[in-house]
Symmetry: C2
């Protein structure tokens, strides 16, 4: 009886589950689709890249579909397909790096392979496989070893791989065929066709430039530091103007910088393969960006300490905090403003050094005020030294950060000289000059560093190129200056 | 006349250069060779790996050289060569990951490709290339898009690439040949042959295990922290026992930890592909290592601040420093000893938690002493607060570091439970028990945490497995325990 009941319950459960299955499946599928859609929306370039790969594949398939092409290349057409699949990278730099590595490695290894086969044939039919085997073994080992060297690994790793591949294939298959030159020619030409298709699609259909990405990544990392500083002020001094809610998320924005080194390294390497494009000329100083990114990360390390101060339960007593609050607030605010101006300078490729230096000077003055406040507060402090340690740690970390902001500013200044950033003039800085500029655009000398040290606000700046101080060649590359995204292509 | 003289001087210069050329060339070549030799000596596994690749290539060439093999596979043998070149990675995990990805992706994509060709043939001769084109385009795009998802990118990126490659090649070449099944079979079987050769050579000829590397990397990073702490003590308090010369280099050993994240990430991913080997079973908790490595890096970030204190010109006044020197020295020394014991625990896969906890407890006591010292020194301090800031920053950074050491110790404790580390007993900890153990090995209960808090010295420890507390299966894997390098292979 009980068994019967049990069986009935089981059956009912099964039926119910069977009934629910379609709706559950639907929910699951909808959830997946939404996830994929969101992922695509986060960076639509991913969808575009996928379509570009599909397009290249379709184009290269023509080698098979179109009769005259098939007649000339035959089954070698599959090397073109293989090339397209392997060479299609997300960025132009990646595609160019792989394509050029593949082409040159195939050319050199193919020639050597043909030479090896001819050499081996001199040794008679029995000696041929032995000589070929020794050559393949020794060249394969040697080139594999060379791939461990950092310099080769960084730029020519793929080329070395293709070298081993092509040499082995040509040398070994040369043992069984007399048409080795035909094979080598067909392989090379199809690889060139596949590589060319990839490179053309990569450059001319919604190109993704590694250099542009690196440029934006560095600027955005600096903005993240600025936001974190802003958020810190709101969270450590809740009485300040900013409410802690709106700053809660921004205070930990710096975290992603701590782990972005490998991305920056990759982008720097790829950017060096790219031709001039948009605002960037050939031989743009990409390694400088990597240096700046390193300083930004060093600075972010001190933010980690600052964050520890925010999260820590042990805070300095309120009366001590209230004494150092003003200079600390000014330090963090001015350092944040300086960082924002530095980021703007990179983003718009214009020089804002007057503004940046003013902010840095203000924050350094605040350091002096902090010293004074600490000096004055000393005889009054009734609490023991121990209790104020967290406050002192926070303040000294802020001093470190201000010093790093200065270093970042110097590095960006170096970059701006090397990359010929435009000279700018801030109307807020010198109202008369600014007005004058607005009326007679481009005729007044730029404000030099130290001319004016009034506060630089975040109000919109007027960017005016100083044509007299720039070589004429630079202006051609600065056409798109100030635009957020560059789509003009220079090959 | 002058012209003549000039020409003579030039000629003499040229001749001299021509004369010097052989010796210069010799010098250059010798220098290069020495550099390469040094590079190979630094990690002889690089040379071994290169020879292994050469060996695999020679083995796979037999498909061409041996007549019966060539008769059955024909030119498809080149897919085996290609597979060997592409799949041969430095670590076993890398080779397995690529080999398995390649094999399964080829199998699935090949089957789908054959299906696509049959489907397209139903649409008549004119419709065939159109249907094939649409299928190649859409599958190529979809799988390319899937490669952006972090989960797929991390483990199956290469498989996705091979999937697109094989599907496109089978589908497109199916348009021109009727022997598509033969092509698919030959391609699959040669890839299996190439992949199998690679995997066998990788596992059985001097294997390099990613898991073993990860294990050592994490232990070495912890030792680097310990050395940096030791070096810090010698450099910040030059009066202490250690001379500053010998510690000068060690104080900045932690630097390499800051940038080792991508290596750890890669090794963790590869280690998960590896079968059990030596001391590690299948499903060893590799992700725990990544977690520990993250904590070690977080700790290294505070070392960056500590290093800033060492390098800074602004030091606290000597009388203040002398007051905090003792507790700070004890903190750094005990934390260093704790780190060394943690590293030893990982290296030997034995539990040293009693030792570690004693050191941590000692360093925490030193924190209390520091607090006391600061409290007492406060009324005496005649200098203003500002001057002692650097000293206070240093001390509070040390407190942070001690806290991180505790976190690392907890994480390693978790790992030791999951990975069934051996229970150990330190004879120094409880001399009587230790003596007893040495006489009647394995018969006495282990010393429990907190039983004894005497100082753990760096003297050699006797490792004794407590058989009563361990499942019998563990002992089999612990055979090689304590050996620096494991070469026993378990597949």
């Amino acid at each position: 009886m009980e068994m019967d009941l049990n069986a009935q319950v089981k059956k009912a459960c099964f039926l119910q589950r069977l009934k629910d299955f379609p709706s559950k499946l639907k929910d699951g599928v909808t959830k997946r689709i939404k996830h994929v859609q969101k992922f695509g929306k986060d960076d639509p370039r991913r969808i575009i890249h996928s379509i570009k790969v599909g397009l290249s594949l379709t184009l290269v398939s023509m080698l098979y579909y179109v009769r005259p092409l098939y007649n000339s290349f035959g089954v070698s057409g599959m090397w073109a397909i293989l090339t397209v699949v392997v060479v299609s990278e997300f960025t132009v730099g990646g595609t160019l790096s792989k394509g050029l590595n593949r082409a040159f490695a195939t050319l050199i290894a193919g020639a050597l392979g043909v030479g090896a086969v001819h050499l081996a044939r001199l040794c008679g039919h029995k000696g041929e496989p032995i000589v070929l085997g020794i050559l393949v073994f020794s060249l394969g080992s040697a080139v594999t070893f060379s791939r461990f060297f950092p310099r080769i690994k960084q730029r020519y790793d793929y080329g070395a791989l293709i070298f081993i591949l092509t040499f082995s294939m040509v040398a070994v298959s040369g043992y069984r065929t007399d048409e080795i030159l035909v094979i080598a020619y067909q392989r090379l030409s199809t690889i060139l066709i596949g590589g060319t298709i990839c490179i053309l699609v990569s450059i001319f259909v919604f190109p993704v430039w590694a250099g542009e990405d690196l440029h934006k990544l560095v600027a955005n990392n600096i903005i993240k530091l600025a936001n974190s500083l802003e958020g810190f002020e709101g969270e450590y001094f809740p009485s300040s103007e900013k409410t802690s809610k709106e700053t809660n998320s921004s205070v930990r924005e710096y975290k992603s910088i701590l782990t972005s080194e490998s991305t920056e390294d990759t982008l720097t390497n790829l950017a060096r393969w790219e031709p001039g494009h948009g605002r960037f000329r050939l031989r743009h100083p990409w390694t400088k960006y990597f240096k700046i990114a390193g300083l930004v990360r060093q600075c972010a390390i001190h933010f980690e300490v600052l964050n520890g101060c925010v999260l820590s339960d042990a805070k300095a007593p309120p009366d001590f905090i209230s004494k150092i609050q003003e200079p600390c607030s000014i330090m963090s605010r001015e350092a944040g403003e300086a960082l924002k101006d530095i980021a703007k300078s990179i983003k718009t490729m214009s020089r804002y050094h007057v503004c940046v230096n003013t902010h840095i000077k203000n924050s350094k003055n605040a350091i002096e005020n902090l010293r004074l406040a600490l000096k004055l507060s000393f005889p009054e402090t009734e609490k023991d030294l121990l209790e104020i340690i967290p406050g002192v740690t926070m303040a000294s970390t802020l001093i470190y950060i201000v010093n790093y902001v200065e270093k970042i500013s110097e590095a960006v200044e170096e970059l701006s000289v090397l990359a010929h950033f435009k000279e700018t003039l801030d109307p807020k800085l010198s109202p008369e000059l600014g007005q004058h500029h607005l009326l007679h655009k481009g005729t007044v000398k730029p404000v030099l560093e130290g001319d004016n040290e009034e506060e630089c606000n975040n109000s919109p700046h007027v960017v005016i190129a100083n044509h007299n101080e720039q070589p004429p060649t630079v202006n051609e590359n600065n056409v798109n200056l100030g635009a957020e995204k560059t789509t003009v292509v220079v090959v």
